[in-house]
């Protein structure tokens, strides 16, 4: 029998590896801990970040939470068409915002504080263009730079609306590797030449943001948001999805661990530096040894639906007080883009009238 006194005595079970129920029962693995605020179903939640954030957005909608969409497709556009054009995947049509610098520059662009020199990239030989900052937002780009300019105005206004009116901001940090315009420092989500644009080594540099740069950018972005929306609550997550490719001359998985470590540090620093900023460990839930790798698909990269469910069960449980089982909403193919969207009433009426019109004409000519 021991009566030794030491600092670990009396600490909660979650601080001890052996006490984690998930070792025996992976589905019960819960690394979340205390969260500094809650979310209700009436809180407007804005999402941004890497592709994993799309899962969060979709599940929020499916679970009855208010995933704010400030850049919706027009009501005449069918939901599946809207989804193909990047509507409703996130709160505005920014596509994936992979790096903290990209987020910061998006905010600066939205408020007219930064106007990148790269306004459009050519796509093929047809005069079509893509937006360098969301090159995959439309399947075939835009018909011209003039059209893209119009769409960008709409888009950036939607970003401002989202920033100024949201109650909760969920940002998923995804990458540290990026391509930077050497002329003005503009950060592109993917290298020119992949989805439009022309790769010119004289114009762009590869850059791998380190923990200091990423922290500074993230803090600057969050401070910028807070200046415009002081009451916003912020949830940071790190995407568990490994890098698809690395420009570093090393194995992609080694680059992945470095990037994720940098992102994790930046998220941690932000939670320590700012009030009402919370780190939610979706990265840990998916990658923990407790779940035995079963949340990754056969390609060892994509996250399975079961993994997303585990993440979102805990999300809803800890932030909204929902019973664990209640947050177990099945993912649906139609997603947020499509949630309960009714056929446009005006179009439906016009179609019905047109049918009568044509039927009458057919009768008249019979």
């Amino acid at each position: 029998m021991s009566n030794r006194n030491h600092p670990y005595l009396g600490l909660p079970d979650r601080q001890f590896w052996k006490k984690e129920p998930g070792i025996v029962t992976p589905a019960t693995f819960d690394p979340v801990g205390h969260v500094p605020f809650t979310i209700t179903k009436t809180d407007g939640v804005v999402t941004a970040g890497s592709c994993f954030a799309q899962h969060v957005a979709r599940r929020l909608t499916q679970s009855g939470f208010s995933h704010m969409v400030t850049e919706p497709a027009h009501p005449i556009i069918p939901r599946e068409v809207a989804a193909r054009f990047g509507y409703n995947l996130f709160s505005a049509r920014y596509g994936n915002v992979y790096t903290a610098r990209q987020l910061l520059q998006l905010l600066h662009r939205a408020y007219g504080l930064f106007t990148p020199l790269a306004t459009h990239w050519p796509r093929g030989q047809s005069g079509r263009v893509v937006d360098p900052f969301r090159p995959q937002i439309q399947p075939e780009g835009f018909i011209s730079a003039a059209e893209l300019d119009e769409d960008r105005k709409v888009h950036l206004a939607a970003v401002r609306r989202a920033i100024e009116t949201m109650d909760v901001f969920v940002f998923t940090l995804g990458l540290t590797e990026a391509w930077i315009d050497r002329r003005d420092g503009a950060v592109f989500p993917i290298a020119p030449g992949i989805s439009g644009g022309v790769y010119d080594p004289d114009l762009v540099d590869f850059h791998n943001f380190d923990e200091t740069e990423t922290s500074d950018d993230l803090l600057a972005a969050l401070a910028f948001i807070r200046e415009r929306n002081p009451r916003v609550r912020i949830i940071l997550t790190v995407s568990p999805v490994p890098l698809n490719a690395t420009m570093e001359a090393r194995h992609v998985f080694v680059s992945t661990t470095w990037s994720k470590a940098v992102l994790r540090i930046a998220a941690e620093r932000a939670t320590r530096a700012l009030k009402d900023v919370c780190y939610f460990p979706s990265y840990e839930i998916i990658t923990a040894p407790h779940v035995r790798g079963r949340y990754f698909a056969e390609d060892c990269r994509e996250v399975r639906d079961a993994g997303v469910s585990h993440v979102m069960r805990l999300f809803f449980h800890h932030f909204a007080g929902m019973p664990i089982e209640a947050g177990n909403v099945k993912d649906k193919q139609d997603g947020p883009a499509t949630a309960s969207r009714k056929a446009d009433a005006h179009l439906s009426e016009m179609e019905a009238l047109n049918k009568i019109h044509c039927d009458e004409e057919a009768i008249n000519n019979g």
């Binding site: 027009h74 005449i76 011209s144 003039a146 019109h357 044509c358 009458e360």
Partner: protein, 227 residues
């Protein structure tokens, strides 16, 4: 007068012998309601020389004859958007094109079946006439659209943009099958691209027999080129 009827009504007696008309609107059981399959027993037993398709064609009017309660502008190659009014919601033009593809998918599915039924024949997709831009004419002959006359008409440039998008949808469908797309006859259009009233039927959307005559002339000269 439907788009096909405008053409059929212009046929001379002699010409009429060379045409067989399969009416998708008025032939009972032509389309199986459950499977959407075309019943080809309604088609002529003799093999035609060419197949002319004039299917649907009023989608642009459904979309844009009257102003939507949430007015919108669409993307434009040089102007950026039409109309220029920035208070309107903005829809990139590719999204409008995608709307037509989506809206016309059942029409094109039937067309695909006809292509499959006549695999080696030349096909011509005959365009619907352009929109009638004369509000007085539409108010005078509103037909079923009388119920909507309290609503403002869409701006002219928007109506033309939507019609052009519809034409592109039919053109793409034709190209998928190596077929020809026959646009509306220029002589029947105003300089702005609307249907000239001289070629308008007494209703809001269709051409008249004079319009049909121009289409027949177009078809003749196209067939001469092909021959």
């Amino acid at each position: 007068m439907s788009h096909v009827n405008a053409t059929m009504s212009a046929l001379t007696v002699a010409e009429r012998e060379h045409f067989t008309y399969v009416d998708f609107q008025r032939t009972p059981d032509l389309i199986d309601a459950a499977t959407a399959k075309v019943d080809f027993s309604h088609f002529p037993t003799s093999r035609p020389d060419v197949v002319l398709l004039s299917m649907a064609g009023n989608a642009h009017n459904v979309l844009g004859m009257f102003e939507h309660p949430q007015p919108y502008a669409v993307g434009h190659r040089t102007k950026g958007r039409v109309p220029a009014d920035t208070e309107r919601a903005f829809i990139p033009l590719d999204l409008i094109d995608a709307w037509f593809e989506h809206h016309l998918r059942s029409v094109f599915d039937k067309a695909n079946q006809i292509h499959a039924f006549y695999p080696d024949l030349p096909f011509i997709y005959v365009s619907a006439p352009p929109p009638n831009g004369d509000e007085v004419h539409i108010r005078t002959y509103p037909n079923a659209f009388a119920a909507k006359l309290h609503m403002p008409f869409s701006p002219p440039e928007l109506r033309i943009a939507l019609y052009e998008a519809q034409c592109r949808a039919y053109q793409r469908q034709a190209e998928r099958h190596g077929a020809r797309f026959l646009p509306a006859p220029v002589a029947a259009c105003t300089p702005e691209g609307f249907l000239d009233l001289a070629f308008a039927n007494n209703d809001p959307t269709h051409g008249n027999a004079a319009y049909g005559r121009l289409v027949l002339d177009q078809i003749s000269s196209l067939l001469e080129q092909v021959a």
